[in-house]
Point group: C2
Chain length 320, copies 2
Amino acid sequence: MELNEIYAPIREDLARVKAELASIGDIDLPWLSGKWGYLVKGSGKGMRPTLTLLAGKFYNYDMAYLLPMAVSVELMHTSTLVHDDAIDNSEMRRGYPTVNSIWGDDVAILLGDYLFAKAAEYVADTQSPRAIKLFSQTLGIISSGEINQFFAAFNMEQTRDDYIKRISGKTASLFSLATESGALLSEAPQEAVSALKAYGYNLGIAFQIVDDILDFTSTEEELGKPIGSDLAQGTLTLPAMLILERYPEANPVRKYLETRDEEHLAPAIERARQEDIVNECYRVATDYCQQACRNLDTLPEGETRQIFRELADYVVRRKE
Amino acid sequence: MELNEIYAPIREDLARVKAELASIGDIDLPWLSGKWGYLVKGSGKGMRPTLTLLAGKFYNYDMAYLLPMAVSVELMHTSTLVHDDAIDNSEMRRGYPTVNSIWGDDVAILLGDYLFAKAAEYVADTQSPRAIKLFSQTLGIISSGEINQFFAAFNMEQTRDDYIKRISGKTASLFSLATESGALLSEAPQEAVSALKAYGYNLGIAFQIVDDILDFTSTEEELGKPIGSDLAQGTLTLPAMLILERYPEANPVRKYLETRDEEHLAPAIERARQEDIVNECYRVATDYCQQACRNLDTLPEGETRQIFRELADYVVRRKE
């Protein structure tokens, strides 16, 4: 199944979410409006709001609550990207210049804060104390995860568990917020809420592993930013970790991390693109996707459950 | 009345708020704990949580709701300071080195985000949809206010209204959140909620004007940072604006703003310290405090109302 088929059941509602996101920039940030599009409209897949909407499909689907939640989830995601790009000094994202590269870090800090605030306003509109609490806890998990990642840069003592913990904070927490809140706001029974939360978590881990693979195997054109940029920043992702794990002696990744010398970066990236590493990373990602699919077993059978399976399948197949 | 007398009715509960704030840093941010103190414990007056607690004294005072709200208000304040200091490249705050000066801007961004998240978690604990909504709206007002301030730097076309609008976003919005939420969470009738919100707003404007005066008239030792630092950043506050308004021809403030040359900064600061300017600024601040006191007229008479009057009086008298 291709992504546009997976999205079919919520296509119109996702368009409403995107229209709402687009309107925020137009009204409140006139100075930004010309560039607002890439922050939200060009945001490719809209994976997180899609998860919220789809998760709402199992029980009482009600856009009065799901719309603000889906908008909130995407705004929180966008705000963390704006801050991340400032921290990483990233020049490009999704093929567009980043906020920090256009207006500097100061504006990126303020704009990220503003987007947080808007995300908090939308989640308040769900009027669900549990969804609001989950939202704030997730924000706390993401930001403490980012702090840990920052202090772990260039540290070769990290284990694979450290990596999973880090991406669980950085990505899986928001995926599981997306699915759990969709379930909550459609009055799903507690068992279904837990199942969808677990699905979101496992899908998020798989999604991030694939992102981390693509960061090496893709092209600059497809990525919309230079390849190997995580490693360049000293952030160890699964491909680089596997190289360190399997070849503890001299290896190009270690060489780059030890010297931080740009001339050692290209050979390290080249090594991470090789088949043995890539295949093993995809195997790990596939394991998480299979786990995500098992999480669906207790949910009502039907189209929505099938769509969630297809989505898990898509996540490991995707090329961007 | 001195500050410790004003605080008397809520002294023990304010200590609980501060203990809660202190515990956050100890548990979640061990790497920061040694420096956490100045962020929260050393935070001088605790004016904002005090306002929340005092506002709760008119009706059903219940720490089950007021405690998380007061903690949330102070955390939101702290998070904006951490980001502001990074944006302004401030080295010192309250006599301590800033987060950005110790760990750099990246950690300041992440820590500010983490504090936002914690603030959002605490406000969720109030379980009041209205308080939660107010909280997020206030965050939006503060951050869009900061964005406006950023783009207004070194712009001499600003009017006094622009200044009031700016400090209303930056400071008064949080003061009025503090009082309004305290009223809401103690089940005050709507009229009292509105009165306390207006009081908070006017007090906040006065408080910020006095801050902006002290930024010129105080000493580096008392301020805990260099004097005239706003002007140095190109931020026009009331004293500088009055000089531009009253002496539109050549004047030292204009000279500094036009040249951005450090040698013109000291004469501009000196001019802002002179009596004519300082007295006029205090007159404006006093007007707002009197308005704040009038806002109290519809509230129940008694000790709490008197304390609020004394607080307004203190705000224009304070030297730090």
